[in-house]
Symmetry: C2
Amino acid sequence: MIKELLNECLYFTSNQLAREAGKIAEEEFSSIGLSPTYAFLILVVKVEPNITLSDLCKILHIAPSTGTRFVDKLIQKGLVERHTEGKLAKILLTEKGAILHDEIQKCWDRLYERYSLIFGKEEGDQLTKTVLAASHVLRNN
Amino acid sequence: MIKELLNECLYFTSNQLAREAGKIAEEEFSSIGLSPTYAFLILVVKVEPNITLSDLCKILHIAPSTGTRFVDKLIQKGLVERHTEGKLAKILLTEKGAILHDEIQKCWDRLYERYSLIFGKEEGDQLTKTVLAASHVLRNN
DNA sequence: TGGTATTGTTTGTACATACAACAAAAGGTG
DNA sequence: CACCTTTTGTTGTATGTACAAACAATACCA
């Protein structure tokens, strides 16, 4: 059957996994009204204040244009600020962003627990490692 | 470091994997001017002519609205036809679509070979199985 | 028989994401 | 110093995808 054939395709299966994982992550982060990638962006900026846009994008594995758009939206929500210095755009949290950070951290912890509950902690960790390793292998062709 | 923490998050890693796998798939399918999911849609319709939209969506794991949009675009390209019967929308290939199907099949085979080359056949297959299983586990909570 | 519930599809709208083109600044080489 | 190249960021535009609402056809039930 065609369905089985599709299930042997990594493009197909990895997209499915990402979408399922995404649904759960969105659920967990919905309480703060941000989707997961935005939340992660704030986590990164909290740890690395004054980070440049390009470094931020590298860490989050998003394209620079995507990074600009995300920052724009978070500025609109009053959660981060952009300080342009020469050609560099440095990002940092506003007070409001700093306050929200704690909530985000909690969501993140809950998300991890939820995955652990579903897969079992050991296996969940193993899965994540496997998936990460695979994406690295692909990136380096 | 924050990067390591993100790498322990399944949402994050699975999205990365999907995007990397997607890049390669898009490369392979670019010769026919379709992105992978459209190509898969044609594969499915070839095997299951007169399939209903909803069955198609189930097999491809996309939302019905997405399916409608995809079919619209493929009709525009003259590759599939939609025959509405009562409340059912049945999809089938046009002649042009049928001709393209062979090319798509070849792209698909090449894609599989390419993943196999990168990961090794055994490990590639294993990875795909693991990823599929994980997405199933998530789907059933 | 008529009314309501269910199912299947489409449309409006929105979002995450990317690429290509551009602008602006920085750095290097003559 | 002046020019070219590289780096960094932003904007225009496009794509894949989804959700919710609207719509349409059918099924069920009193």
